[in-house]
Symmetry: C2
Subunit: 319 residues, 2 copies
């Protein structure tokens, strides 16, 4: 049996793949070369996770790899109807972003509660301005998105005494269904989005939604940019419908220098970095190699995406 | 028996003391009037906790109140040799600042780990700069000061997966003694000062100390300003001996506009606000009234300061 061909969508060799040398024919391609190389690949590794090239190239002619893995928590940039309908298995990264993103969100919640941006601003002006801040213990959060990241955010905030309601698509034992979201958001101090992007939830955080939040509340998005109607959020902040917000993901990334979002009052803009802690690329490479070895051995792959839903179904013991 | 006289060092009526009306003769004084009014007071409530007036006025002539309570976590501004030697009982606030300060410190640790100041700076310049950040889970902290605030900081950081060593004056079961500090600080990612100010620890965080910290480490002071040699910290930051620092307390407060501390690189300056969450003044007033009722009833007072040590001895079940 010839060595399988692994096609990597990335312009530079990825770390850790060296362990596959001799057993695998590894080919690298950039976005432009993807369509021509797809037919020869047994496996496609999407290392350049900001690329939309797979969705564009997949519907073309010729055979297609039987397995696609993305080094990302989300698969929204990957899935096209042809890939969804095909027999190809899609997997994604798991266990690498959860804790970093949860720590990042916790840091944002505390930064808002303690008005750290205000402190830095007064420091810049050399002004001693004592202010009262708020306790997060006893405050209320709604976490939207009941996947591994949303669950880890929930767990971390609960350990700090925050009362957290976790909202998924459908209600389960410890998880609220989407129908509860408005009611919960109207009482929340923190609304945190960690949801996958699917066709049914695009733009779900819009003027209507921000209008039902409390004026003292904050909104945080560490999910996908298109979940939020950015203009509506900017308006809600300018009109003080809500007290503040933080976006780590955007409709267009990188955010252009002329974007009006950079200087919306009480908005923290960060460059899609919440999951990226030192060593993350090594961990992503290592995880893929482990999965690859399972695939070669004919064992079932973990972290398989439900292509019709657009995310991995999480099973846990509490359900 | 005539109603006891309660003297309040503050320029405006304090909240919650209204409950004492009719049972107590409440007098208010500012710093200048304190010396003249001290002899007539049975109880002194120090509401203006930034004042040094008690230390200055106490050694004067005439009788002195038998009980002094300060609405602060620290008693360093109060104690003079004459008060220490007297029979007067000194008490202080307890149970109000612990959680807010612990949340504040946790927020600073996360802000440093996730480089939130850098994010705000790049946002201001409209620059998309993806960076890797660090996980706090698994990182190492040393908390200096084993009183209620230091213990709460320790508890909160441990729930987030930080490995914390708590250092007190003397070693006890779960607490390291001062002799271990250098060794622990040399391995720490975070050194957090929540110690009381006494004559023996003034200036303990100096060039020698910062010199033994790791270049990647951060220093946070939520204790008292004079524990830190501010010039040495500024030098350590400018020379990159350590990666960053945050001060919430200073040798002189408020910090003057011309202070060089405002723009030391990688230093966060905040106006002694870590313990001040919404409602704190009400809570402080309520706590005093409860203690006052115990005092009137002849019951033993809680939160009594060991005047020779300069802080309250904490007893806990783990010792």
């Amino acid at each position: 049996m010839p060595a399988p061909t692994l096609l990597v969508l990335d312009t530079a060799p990825s770390p850790r793949l060296g362990r596959l040398t001799g057993r695998t024919c590894v080919r690298y391609t950039d976005e432009a070369g993807l369509a021509a190389r797809l037919p020869e690949a047994d496996v496609l590794l999407v290392w350049d996770v900001a690329s939309d090239a797979v969705r564009a190239a997949w519907p073309g002619d010729g055979p297609r790899p039987g397995w696609v893995h993305t080094a990302s928590a989300g698969v929204d940039r990957l899935l096209c109807p042809e890939l969804v309908r095909s027999d190809t298995v899609v997997t994604r990264a798991r266990g690498i972003f959860e804790r970093p993103v949860a720590e990042y969100v916790t840091g944002l919640v505390l930064a808002f509660a303690k008005d750290l941006p205000g402190t830095l601003e007064f420091q810049h002006r050399r002004q001693w301005r004592h202010r009262e801040s708020t306790r997060i213990a006893g405050s209320r959060a709604v976490v939207v998105g009941a996947g591994p990241i949303g669950r880890e955010i929930t767990r971390l905030l609960i350990t700090l005494g925050v009362q957290v309601a976790l909202v998924g698509r459908r209600a389960r034992r410890t998880i609220h269904g989407a129908a509860d979201l408005d009611r919960l958001a109207a009482m929340a101090d923190w609304v945190i989005c960690a949801a996958p992007l699917t066709e049914s939830n695009r733009g779900m955080f819009d003027a209507r939604f921000f209008g039902l939040m409390q004026p003292s509340a904050h909104f945080i998005n560490v999910g996908r940019g298109p979940l939020v109607v950015e203009d509506d959020l900017a308006t809600a902040l300018r009109r003080r419908w809500i007290a503040g917000a933080a976006l780590d993901a955007f409709e267009q990334e990188p955010l252009e220098p002329q974007s009006p979002l950079w200087d919306v009052p009480e908005l923290i803009v960060s460059p899609h970095m919440s999951g990226a802690t030192t060593g993350w690329r090594d961990q992503l490479g290592e995880q893929f190699v482990e999965m690859y070895e399972q695939w070669v051995a004919g064992a079932p792959l973990p972290n398989v995406v439900d292509k019709r839903r657009g995310y991995v179904l999480v099973q846990d013991r509490s359900e």
